[in-house]
């Protein structure tokens, strides 16, 4: 059960501003979905290993070569999509 406090906490963790209206709107649907997910409790997973990667792949490396797998962008290209920029930097809001 996701309480209002839970919703505020996960909203903060995921940096999604939620209005009171949003919270009212989201809560019931989130909870009905979570209720549904609860069916997994029926499954006996004692001694079962989790599957993080579906293929048994190991040891995939790249060599330490400049431009080997990816090529660097120019500064202009890097900044080409920046909503705000200044002197070659991305411009972010103030910290405090």
């Amino acid at each position: 059960m996701i309480t209002k406090e839970d919703l505020e906490h996960i909203g903060w963790l995921s940096r999604l501003e939620l209005s009171d209206e949003d919270k009212e709107k989201y809560s019931p649907k989130l909870n009905s979905i979570l209720d549904y997910f609860g069916e997994l409790n029926e499954v006996d997973t004692e001694g079962v290993e989790p599957t993080y990667h579906v293929l048994p792949l190991y040891n995939v490396f790249r060599e330490d070569e400049v431009g080997g797998t990816t090529t660097s962008l120019t500064q202009d290209e890097a900044l080409s999509n920046a909503p705000r920029k200044q002197d070659g930097f991305f411009k972010a809001p103030r910290m405090m």
Binding site: S14, I33, F37, L57, M96
Partner: protein, 473 residues
């Protein structure tokens, strides 16, 4: 329209790529389907002219291809149908785009999709829903609805989508075209904007299995930039044989369960019997954990998504709201940029990974994933391919399910287990119900795309469902 690759090659040979590309552009321009988010008319025509003058001998030389809007295209806006990526123009091409360009293909535009591929109906797009070419009051399926509708509606001969939990196969089924979700790792994901990395694959659409195999040959193969990409190149087109003699088909009863439309069940069984008549045998197989696939899938996908979508903060690309302190700005950018379904999945995914709930949801789902994978391994001990409905029902009405997310999730019941197991699956048309296409999926072992392509090809060669076209467009 609805020309095959071979027909288009002849037309390009006799005329020009430019003519072909312009015809498709006209068709897109006058379309009511809303299949495209961005039409790359200028660059497509320029590229076509280049091909016309250059004597390019690639297998797709001069042939237009539509690309789902979550695949990065250098110089062409790529938005994932989300407001948050408004104006984003990638400075690089996805691996599949490099491959297509090398084969001479012309990128004609970017197709509509559920926002960040989160949906089953292409209704969550910031750019409005795409319509089903067979009935424009109905959804095309999702999340690659634009790519499927474009091919079904004759607006592109070929397209690429992505399939995280059925997002290629579902719209292929609803739109009556062929769509393939390859084995995890067969097509590089480099440049595919992630929704749930451990589950998804890029996959092609076409009006026939032959064309599907042709574009699959082009875009598959090893890529050093994707650590999960596998190094085992196969020529899939050469696997297309009109022959299923000796093929052992498994039929999982769990996929014909409660909620499956009668017409769907009948069409899929008819298809199985058709293949039987052609020399295949079938047997029922048990996949007892299928029931839990949906919950496991959604928990894993949402968890990964909550992390994948965290980078959209308005600093390096995308929209930006008024600056305040950084915490507030980030929260406001994301609140303004994401739609409701995306927020819902981010919130649930964050919850499923958070302290106190990680083991209960995320870890549990991954253990259930293991059991589902084992269901497939056991089944494939005895059979060569599995055949099941792609979707439990044909295309539903626009707006019918959009306010009830859970009912929309339930539509994915037959497609998500395949992604959890990482196996390949192709959806092809196998019937109609009240003028709406029905799709069946042929599921294979890891890396055995050859078997499912051959099965699908044989079915096509002996039936005519794939030749039917929507009318009144």
């Amino acid at each position: 329209m609805w020309a095959s690759i071979n027909e288009l090659r002849e037309r390009i040979h006799a005329g020009s790529s430019e003519e072909v590309v312009c015809e498709y552009l006209d068709r897109i321009g006058s379309s009511k389907l809303n299949a495209f988010v961005t039409v790359a008319a200028e660059s497509a025509i320029a590229r076509a002219k280049e091909i016309d003058s250059g004597g390019h001998d690639g297998v797709l030389a001069g042939i237009p291809v539509a690309i789902k809007d979550n695949i990065s295209t250098k110089g062409i806006r790529t938005t994932c149908s989300s407001n948050i990526l408004t104006g984003y123009v990638p400075p690089y091409d996805a691996h599949v785009i490099e491959r297509l360009k090398a084969a001479g293909a012309v990128i004609i535009g970017k197709t509509n999709m559920d926002e960040f591929a989160m949906g089953t109906s292409t209704e969550t797009s910031y750019y409005g829903a795409t319509k089903n070419p067979w009935d424009t009051d109905r959804v095309p399926g999702g999340s690659s609805g634009g790519s499927a509708a474009a091919v079904a509606g004759g607006e592109a001969p070929l397209s690429l989508g992505s399939d995280t939990g059925g997002s290629v196969r579902c719209p292929a089924s609803f739109c009556g075209v062929a769509g393939l979700k390859p084995t995890y790792g067969v097509i590089s994901r480099y440049g595919l904007i992630s929704y749930a990395n451990s589950l998804e694959q890029i996959g092609p659409f076409a009006t026939s299995v032959r064309d599907l195999a042709a574009i699959f040959d082009v875009v598959s193969g090893h890529d050093l930039r994707d650590s999960t990409s596998v190094d085992r190149k196969t020529n899939y087109s050469s696997a297309l044989e009109n022959d299923v003699k000796g093929l052992n088909i498994g039929v999982p009863a769990e996929y014909f369960g409660e909620g499956t439309d009668e017409a769907v069940e009948k069409s899929v069984w008819n298809a199985i019997h058709t293949l039987e008549d052609l020399g295949a045998t079938w047997t029922e197989v048990k996949m007892p954990h299928t029931k839990y696939a949906l919950s496991a899938y959604y928990i894993i996908a949402m968890s990964e998504a909550s992390s994948n979508l965290a980078r959209f903060d308005g600093m390096r690309y995308g929209i930006r709201t008024e600056d305040s302190n950084w915490h507030t700005t980030f929260s406001q950018v994301r609140a303004a940029g994401f739609g409701e379904e995306v927020k819902r999945r981010i919130l649930l995914g964050t919850y499923a990974l958070s302290a106190g709930y990680h083991d209960k949801y995320y870890l549990k789902a991954l253990k259930v994933r293991t059991l589902i994978k084992q269901d497939f391994e056991r089944a494939f001990n005895d059979v060569d391919v599995l055949i099941a409905p792609t979707m439990p029902y044909p295309a539903f009405k626009l707006g019918e399910k959009i306010d009830d997310p859970l009912s929309l999730y339930l539509a994915d019941v037959d497609t998500v287990p395949i992604n959890l197991a990482g196996v390949p699956s192709i959806s092809i048309p196998c019937g109609f119900s009240d003028g709406l296409p029905i799709g069946m999926q042929v599921i294979g072992k890891h890396f055995d795309e050859a078997a499912i392509l051959r099965t699908a090809y044989t079915f096509e060669e002996n039936t005519d469902y794939h030749t039917k076209r929507p009318e009144g467009l």
